[in-house]
Amino acid sequence: MKALQIDRSLPRFAAARVAGALRSGSGARVGPIELADREPPEPPGAGWVPLRPRLSGICGSDLATIDGASSRYFEPLVSFPFVPGHEVVADAPDGRRVVVEPVLGCVTRGIVPPCPACARGDLGQCERTAFGELSPGLQTGYCADTGGGWSTGMVAHLSQLHAVPDGWSDEAAVMVEPSACAVHAALRAAAEAPLGTVAVIGAGTVGLLTIAALHHWSPPVTLVAAAKHADQRRWARELGADVVVEPAELPRAVRRITGSLAVGDQLTGGADCVLDCVGSEASIQQALALVRPGGRVLLVGMPSSVRLQLTTLWHREVRLEGVYAYGTEHLPDGTTRRTFDLAFELVEAARLERLVTATYPLARYRDAIEHAADAGRRGAVKVAFDLRGEKERNR
């Protein structure tokens, strides 16, 4: 089968890091990723089935890996060589189209009894992601045993599969996994209602989906978003942001909306909750400057090593919280739902298939990755690999 594969190669990771620092996405040309012919992965045990991916999205975390920018924290949580791709819509052996819920928790790893988090349904908080019958890998797409969506064949546990409703396009289905992350973030924000002003920093895929999720599942009084590019600002408005500004304008916008005063660069009041969908040093620092005393900053975008001025966090009793993946959500009405089920609803309600703006065959992976890395400037949102026409898949 054909697959994009990442090997453990420190020199190539180093080269990718240098190239990626110069131009985002260029790690694909010099780094450890390559297009390979390899044997399809074998189902590692009972309950596993082979899948033939149809579409597989390129995520910000994938780009960070390819550009060598991921934190070394992940090293023991992945296994090489792995095939990236955790945003997957695929054909299952029983003829269904399925979306893969990629977190490799205790059930997929054959761990009995499951860890407390998995027992609660909070898969993203699984305590055993490097243990059990599978090689380490926090998700499909980072595990040597499962393969990933950037290929013509992979395996998945039956517990990971969500059937795609009839009439849905593959483009809609491929948006379910990133939407689940956004739903999780939005409901975490809403856990401490009522939300007056919420700020979202960043309007890449994660940011835009978070805006859509907030608007759909837990609309604040005012949702203000910072977006760097004109198309992103248009999308942000369309998906439910009340006020959309350029990143440098965000502090003034939040000040104005909340009626805050300011001391230096720090607002005296601020937003009830800030969702940082970028994860950079600058964005986190800005989030801390925007949030009200006692408010919360949710890190939705994946951060790496950063250097922060945390005096404001201490002085204003701000809470900085990570938001990762999904699992089970407790809705404001008291009901409990799987995040993926809510994500399906969101994709349909907000017509999120519109955000899939470019697809590429595997052979053009360098172009695809560079496009994804430069999506905002090029007017794109979600870039994906289209496997439906791959010869190896259709043999």
Partner: protein, 527 residues
């Protein structure tokens, strides 16, 4: 004998025309057949200003002489125009200083010892110590400011404003409490343009947002045609109605108004107020040298140089007494200096905008102020009809950088980023956004304690241009930062030819073009 204003018809022998362009200049060749409206030359100044002031105070119009209005134990307040006048600042001694010293001498002779001096800045930024010293002189400043008797008007001081009543139109009149409760309010004015002075001095200069919103609004400004023509200005009508409330329920007002000639540039830069074909060799050499130097000078340095220039303005008249009677004479004197008869309207009006307007003294001419200077001030400098026909095109030259003074104009930044990103329609802006900016606690704090224009001030700048926006078919900014120009809702052009090409979409390929050659200021009397 100064020559009157002049309308030149451009022919092949006409040299390039000077366009002011922020902290710089452009020489542009206007198409043959274009007209250039030049201002009158500076009127002869008063020979003895101090004598003229004393005469005005002792022989006022429709009023008792000032000494007769002064008595021991009285409360006397002297209010004076703020840093927005005159432009550029005049050489020391400022005429306000001369008048205030004369008034204070008479007050001292009468045994008046309760005297306050107030910079009547309405919702403008507070004046700095240096600016106050320049306006009133060191002697007055040192005698009054340290004791808290010379200060800036504070329209947001909850205890500092007094409500005097409403006009029959429901316009609330609220002015500075100290002024309102004085036995005599002496107002010291400088009239640069015919919009200034009269009841606008007190009803605007000493007022609050509560009062100002009744005439600083889109409806009033769109019905002021022009705001410089008192007979046809809703802005003036409103101020005059408020003046009646002031007269009936407020303090006795003794108005002192002055007019200046339009001598704007000192040698060697006085060629900027000459007609181009009269430039001598020295003028041309100076201009070329200045252009070359400006091209190599960073904008901040250029700004600092330009704002440090003092104009050689000279006083042409001083009159004192009853507000309306005084102002009639003042207006006639302004017209005497500025009016130029122009026959017929143009399809395209061109103008070069200088580095300064009333709201960026020692500051940055931000894009909103560019709009206000072009469409608010210069466009409105007409009597009768605008220089450009309805649906015509305005081409104004200014670099229009996306730049704001963070201390002076904080709410302007938000206005530009938030409000203009959504709409440039003055009525919608007023309806959707004005209140929140006017009542924003942060802007209020900065206005009162820092040197910031009030939160609502950028709205007023936009309303100032609302008659122009309504009248014009297109606005093109020559040499402006494209991004900033587009945010204003205008079109950027890099050359005059490009601008005229853009204008042709609206006015056809053979438009009648008129160039408004200012500064020095002029006012077109369009028949």
């Amino acid at each position: 004998m100064p020559r009157p204003g002049f309308v030149l018809e451009v022919d092949r022998s006409t040299p390039p025309t000077l366009f002011h362009h922020g902290e710089g200049f452009r020489l542009e060749r206007l198409p043959t057949g274009s007209r250039v409206v030049y201002p009158p030359e500076p009127l002869a100044p008063l020979r003895d200003i101090d004598a003229a002031i004393r005469h005005a105070l002792l022989h006022p119009i429709d009023s008792d002489p000032l000494p007769a209005l002064l008595f021991p134990g009285m409360k006397l307040t002297i209010a004076f125009d703020d840093v927005s006048l005159p432009l550029p600042k005049m050489r020391r001694p400022d005429v306000r200083q001369r008048i205030i010293e004369a008034v204070l001498d008479m007050a001292a002779e009468a045994g008046v010892d309760d005297v306050h001096l107030i910079a009547a800045l309405a919702l403008h930024r507070r004046m700095t110590e240096a600016e106050l010293r320049h306006a009133v002189g060191d002697r007055v400043y040192d005698a009054f400011a340290p004791r808290g008797l010379l200060y800036n008007h504070d329209a947001e001081d909850p205890d500092g404003m007094a409500f005097l009543g409403s006009t029959p139109h429901g316009e609330e009149v609220e002015i500075n409490r100290r002024a309102a409760e004085s036995d005599l309010l002496v107002y010291v004015n400088i009239n640069m343009v015919s919009m200034d002075g009269g009841w606008k001095s007190t009803a605007t200069g000493l007022a609050s947002y509560r009062s100002l919103r009744h005439h600083h609004n889109v409806h009033t400004l769109q019905h002021s045609r022009s705001m410089m023509d008192q007979e046809r200005s809703a802005l003036h009508s409103s101020n005059w109605r408020m003046g009646k409330v002031l007269r009936d329920h407020g303090p006795k007002v003794f108005q002192i108004e002055t007019t200046l000639n339009n001598d704007t540039f000192s040698p060697p830069f006085d060629m900027l107020q000459k007609r181009e074909w009269e430039w001598g060799v020295r003028d041309r050499a100076t201009f070329l040298g200045m252009q070359a130097a400006l091209h190599r000078t960073p904008r901040r340095v250029k700004r600092s140089i330009f704002h440090s220039m003092e104009a050689p303005h000279q006083v042409t008249s001083v009159q004192a007494g009853e507000v309306e009677a005084v102002h009639r004479i003042t207006t006639a004197n302004v017209y005497r200096q500025q009016l130029v008869e122009v026959e017929g309207q143009a399809d395209v009006l061109t103008m070069g905008l200088p580095y300064i307007c009333p709201y960026n003294v020692n500051s940055v001419m931000n894009p909103i102020l560019v709009m206000c200077l072009g469409l608010g001030y210069f466009f409105n400098l007409y009597k009768g009809k605008p220089l450009v026909r309805e649906g015509g095109v305005l081409i104004m030259s200014h670099p229009t950088p996306w730049e704001f003074h963070p201390v002076h104009h904080p709410s302007y930044i938000d206005f530009f980023e938030q409000v203009l990103a959504e709409t440039t329609d003055p009525a919608e802006i007023e309806q959707r956004f004005e209140k929140s900016y006017a009542e924003d606690e942060w802007y209020r704090h900065l206005y009162r304690t820092s040197y910031a224009y009030h939160g609502v001030h950028p709205f007023y700048m936009w309303y100032w241009g609302s008659h122009g926006l309504q009248h014009l078919g297109r606005v093109i900014v020559l040499g402006g930062d494209p991004k900033a120009v587009r945010r204003l809702g205008f079109m950027p052009a890099s050359t005059l030819d490009d601008a005229l090409e853009m204008a042709s979409d609206v006015v056809g390929r053979h438009p009648r073009i008129t160039h408004f050659h200012a500064p020095p200021l002029l006012m077109a009397d369009v028949s």
